[in-house]
Amino acid sequence: MISIWFFIGVSLAVNGALILAAGVYQLIRPPADPGVVLFSLHANVWWGALLLMAGLLYCFRFAPRRRH
């Protein structure tokens, strides 16, 4: 059976990739009105990258093929 941790890895990786992509897009093309405070910290870039790395780690560690 596929481990629950693998599903969590998929969720974190996909969400992380989407958030990172949105952050990088805003980094390249900064909006005139960012709409959030502390925009200069570009939280979606580093938080998205963090989630992506954690997700990939879980996906790799708990991939179905590695459990058999």
Partner: protein, 567 residues
Amino acid sequence: MTLLLATDVPAHLVRLAPVDVVIVAFYFALVLSIGWYLRGRANTSEDFFMAGREMTAWVAGLSFLSANLGALELMGWAGSAYQYGILATHWYWIGAIPAMLFLALVMMPFYYISKTHSVPGYLKLRFGEPSRALSAISFAFMTVLMSGVNMFAMAKVMQIVLGWDINFSIWVSSLTVAIYVSLGGLRSAIFNEVLQFFLIWAGALLIPILGLYEAGGWTNLKLEITQRASAQYIHLWAGLGSFSNNPMGINWAGIVFGLAAIISMGYWTTDFLVVQRILAAKDIRSAEMAPIIGAGFKMFVPIIVILPGLLGLGLLPEKLVPESVAAVTGGHSYNDVLPLMLARYCGPGLLGLGVTALIAGFMSGMAGNVSAFTTVWTYDIYRPLINSKGSDHHYVNMGRWTTIVGVLISVGTAYLVMHFASIMDYVQALFSFFIAPLFGTVVLGMLWKRATGAGGFWGLLCGTLSSISMWAWVKVDPSALRYVALSPHAKGLAQDMFQALWSFVVCVTVTVLVSLATKAIPEVELNGLVYGLTNVPSVGDVPLYKKPLFWAAIVTVVFVTLNIIFW
């Protein structure tokens, strides 16, 4: 700037970008996929209702915690933190940790070795059919009603925060839950609860991180809160000497004896919604470790719930007000603080994750209600009272159909609440009536061998009736609160604490008196059900770092230290 974001869009608090919508849609696709994948692993009643009793301590522990970590819980307690300050943390620390450890070390062995499928099932073994029927029917009835109330409340939140249509929110979320629980049973619900746990932390942890950065650290935040509100908002215990010396209008006795000793013990040890997750553990060590793991994480939930409320109090330029005032003035209420803080810091992508965390919290809470209802209906009502000769396959089918019917009743309740708003208050109050007396009945059953079937039944019934009577008394005459809570300065929350305390006392007193007046149950029939007559199985010959007692001690030390630090 963010305030403008919130107030410039009067229809709703935040506006989702396309990437946010993709993140929300991905969540729905993933939970349905998990349900579809697990459909082949829910063919026997043990699989469907108890997840095969093969969950590890980590999965059972995180699911146990997640079942309680709903979206309304997150938003409500963040709002309470804004309203009452750090005092709201009591519901996460002393109002949870001791009870979780008590469940792990004292009560779990009896639940586990009796191989019961439910809390009412334990009452059947210990006190007989009448006690089971009373608790099962009340639990099943109230669980689906509560699920409907939560469904409506969440749809309302989605309307306020995102501008979504209420009907859309109700039907999409309820149909999704109905599909994945009816396909995969408890295992599917548990898997999605663990997924939700990660999504909530991933979606909410940025708020305290960025908030503390903006505030200039915890010390500066405390100074800001002291200036804007008062120093009482940043102390856990220092203001609890009297009812009038803290924003909550409660004293230390209400917190310690009402919240910690009764309400929290009742909820965490006898509410089948959460206990069901632990019963799915694969062995006795996992069953004991699961609540301890849950307690370890529970201590840190205030970081993503209480701290955002305090940050809102210290940083938001707008002053938030009670719901009743917000409805008149058009301003934001206390309960809006979490979405406001989300909008303050989270841009495209992050906002979608935060909203997904709220939706996931709501749906897993609903799945928890529905799976618990399904089990109690099938095992404790349908099988003993209606059809005791069905095949295993028949009961699994009954579980699947009950899941769908339970969701439909919840939807019906949601629409009922939509048209008769006062029903919500009554349903929430009704649910609280059963918690404290049920704890009294179960704990006496486990710890006192002289408790008899008649004692258990009449204690449970009288405790519940006393709780209803006190609630009705204060409802008719609000000044009666001074007698229930023993102080003219007591406020609403104090009523819940003292009402629970007195109904527990009534339950225990009646149980003891009736038990002493009736014939004792032969000791041989109590083997495996009562302390002193049961050989509690060992967790095995494992190293110290794998023993539940060792981790319970560590959790206790951290718990005491945190209370001293924030005294």
